[in-house]
Subunit: 373 residues, 2 copies
Amino acid sequence: MKLEIKQNVLLEHLNYVIRGISTKNLRPILNCIKFELTDEGLYLMSTDSEISIKTFIDKKDINKIDTTGEIVVSGRYIYEIIRKLPDETINLEEVIDSKLYITTNNSSFTLNCSNVNEFPDLELEFNQNPIILNQKLFKTIINQTSFATSTSETRPVLTGINFKIEGNTLECTATDSYRLAVKKITLESNAVENSNIIIPTKNLNELVKLMNEDEEELEMHIFANKVVFKFGQITMMTRLISGTYPDTSKLIPETYELTMKVKYDDLYSAIDRASLLTNESDKNTIKFETTNDTAIISSNIPEIGNVEEKITVEKDNDSEIKIAFNSKFMMDAVKSLESEEIELMFNGEIKPIILKNVESDDLIQLILPIRTY
Amino acid sequence: MKLEIKQNVLLEHLNYVIRGISTKNLRPILNCIKFELTDEGLYLMSTDSEISIKTFIDKKDINKIDTTGEIVVSGRYIYEIIRKLPDETINLEEVIDSKLYITTNNSSFTLNCSNVNEFPDLELEFNQNPIILNQKLFKTIINQTSFATSTSETRPVLTGINFKIEGNTLECTATDSYRLAVKKITLESNAVENSNIIIPTKNLNELVKLMNEDEEELEMHIFANKVVFKFGQITMMTRLISGTYPDTSKLIPETYELTMKVKYDDLYSAIDRASLLTNESDKNTIKFETTNDTAIISSNIPEIGNVEEKITVEKDNDSEIKIAFNSKFMMDAVKSLESEEIELMFNGEIKPIILKNVESDDLIQLILPIRTY
C-alpha cells in the first residue's frame, strides 16, 4: 500500500472510524483501524464486535494512489499522529517487516502493523429495500427518546430503543420502567417487511455523533441480528438486543381527568430551581399542586431548607391536581418536547403523567408519579 | 439582615467567595458563606482555613439596605440558588429560627442558617507598606512558574512557589527537583523589608482565577505565616508553607558550551508529535541530536513504532549536542516562554538544559537531561 493524501481529508475520515475501535484491551486487533487501498479509493474500517464502522475516501480526494493493498494499524496511534501533523500532504507507505511509514517534509513515523488476516469481517451487508429516513429527523428521534432508556443491565431489553415498523409507520420507544418516551414517524414509503427490533442505545448515540448537520438520507438495512446504517460515505453496523420488548401501548391513557397548558420556560426553570432542594436518595422528589390557574412546585431537604415556585397554568376544567414526581425525569421529558407551550395530562395522583407538545402528538412522554401524600 | 439586590451583582461576588469554601466535609461551617450587611454595603466571606476570601458590594450597587446584620449559610446551596434565579431583583431576609428567606416574583427559598459565632476569623490584616504588583504581570508570573512545582507531598516546600523580595527585586522560583522555573521582576519601589516566603501553588492558582483581565494593582501584604492579597473589592489570605526553600541559584550555569536559537513553533510541534511515541513509565523520554544546522528529535515505543522530527537550529559554534529529556517537561518550559524565538543552552549531555526567550532574561527554564546514551 502506498499513497499521498491531504492531512485534513484523512483526518476527517479517521474521526469517523476512531469511534468504532475498542477501548478495552481484550483483543488488540479490535484497537486497530484497517486501511484498504483500491484503485477506486481508500476504505477505513474499525470494529469492536458490537459496532463496525466503514468509511470511503474517493480517489478524486486522494493526491496519488501508488500501490493498492491492505494494512491494519493501531487506531489510537495513527489517529493522534495524523491529528498532530500539519495540514500538508502526507505519504503513507507499507514497508518491509509489516511497518507503515508516515512522512511529511519534516516528520517521519514508523508504526508496526498487525496481521491483516486477523482483522474481523465487518458483516456490512445491505438488503434491497432499506428504510429511508432523513438524517436530521433520525437525530431528533434519538435525542427525544434515548434518555428514557435504562442503564441497568438487569433487564437488557430496556437498554435499547425499540424500533417498530408497520407499513409506513415507525414507532420508537424507550423506557426504564419509571418513564417512557414514544416517538411516531410516518415513512415516505411503506416498508417491504414489518420489523420489531431493539437497538442498543449507546450504539445509536455513537451513530448520531457520526452524522453531519445536513439533510442527507439515511438508509437502514434490518437483518435478524443486526442493522446496517448507510449515509454519505459511512456505513455502520450495530448488533441488536435479543429478547421481546414489553408492550407499552396500553400505558398511555385514552382519556384524562385534567389537561393543562403551560409555558415551556416557566415550567422548566421552576422545576430546575426546585430540584436544587431535592436529593437522589429521595428520588429527586418534587411536589406539584394546582389552585385555580396557579401551580405551586415545591421541594425540601429538611436539614437544608425548602423552595416554592409559582407558575401559571391553563386548565381544561375546574378539577385540581396534587402530585409528586422525579424532577430529573420531568426535566428530561420537558426538554425533549422542544415546544414553547407544553400540555400536561393527569388522571389523579397515582396514575402516570403524560406530556406532549401542544401542536403535535408525534412525541409522547410519560412519567410515573411518586406516592408521597 | 434584610436587603434587595440585583441577581447579577450578587452572583458576581458569590463567584469569588465560592472558591474559598471547603470541598471536604470535615467542618460543616467551612462549607458556608458569611453575609455581613452594614450601612456601607455587603461583605461576603468564605474560608477553608488554608485560604480565606472576602469581597465587598458597595451600597451604591445594592437596591435597598433594610436591616443590617450577619448570617452564615451553606455556600453551595446559596450559590446554586442565586445562579439559577432570573436576572431580577432578589430579596434576602433573615427570618425567625435562623432562616434565610430568598424571594423573587415567583420563587421563594428558605435556607437554614448556621451559627454566626462558629464562623472562623478570616485574619485579613494589612500592613502599612504592601508590595505593589500589576495584576496581569502577577498572573503571568504564576503561569510561567507554577507548572514546575512538585505535586508530591514528600517535600512540602516544593509544593509552593518561592517569593524572594530584596530591595526592588522579586524573584519567583518553582522546582520539582527535575526542572526549575525562575522569573525575575523589578518592583516599582523598594520593599521596606526583604522577604523569603513559600506560597502554596494551589492557592496561587485559585488567586489567579479570581483576577480580572484588567491592569489593576494587586497589593501583597506579607506576614510571618500568611500573605494577604488585595485587589479591587477582593481580599484573599493564604497560609505560607513553613521550611527553607532550597538555594537554586547555583544550578543555573554562567557559561555554556553551546547555545542555539530555534523557532518556537518548530520546536513545540516537533516535540509534541515526538511525544506521541513516548510513555510515562519511561519518563516520556525523547532524544535531541544536532548535525550542523539541523536537530533531529526522536523517540520510540518498541512495540508500537518510532518517530523522527527535523527542525532547523542556529548554533553559536560548531560543537554538536546529543541529549535526552522528558518531552512533557520540555513542552511546559517552551510554552511558558511565549516567544517567537527561543534560546537553548547546553553544557554536554549530562548537564542541565537552559531555555529562555531570545529577547529577555526575565524568565529562565531549566530541565535536567535523562541519561540514555
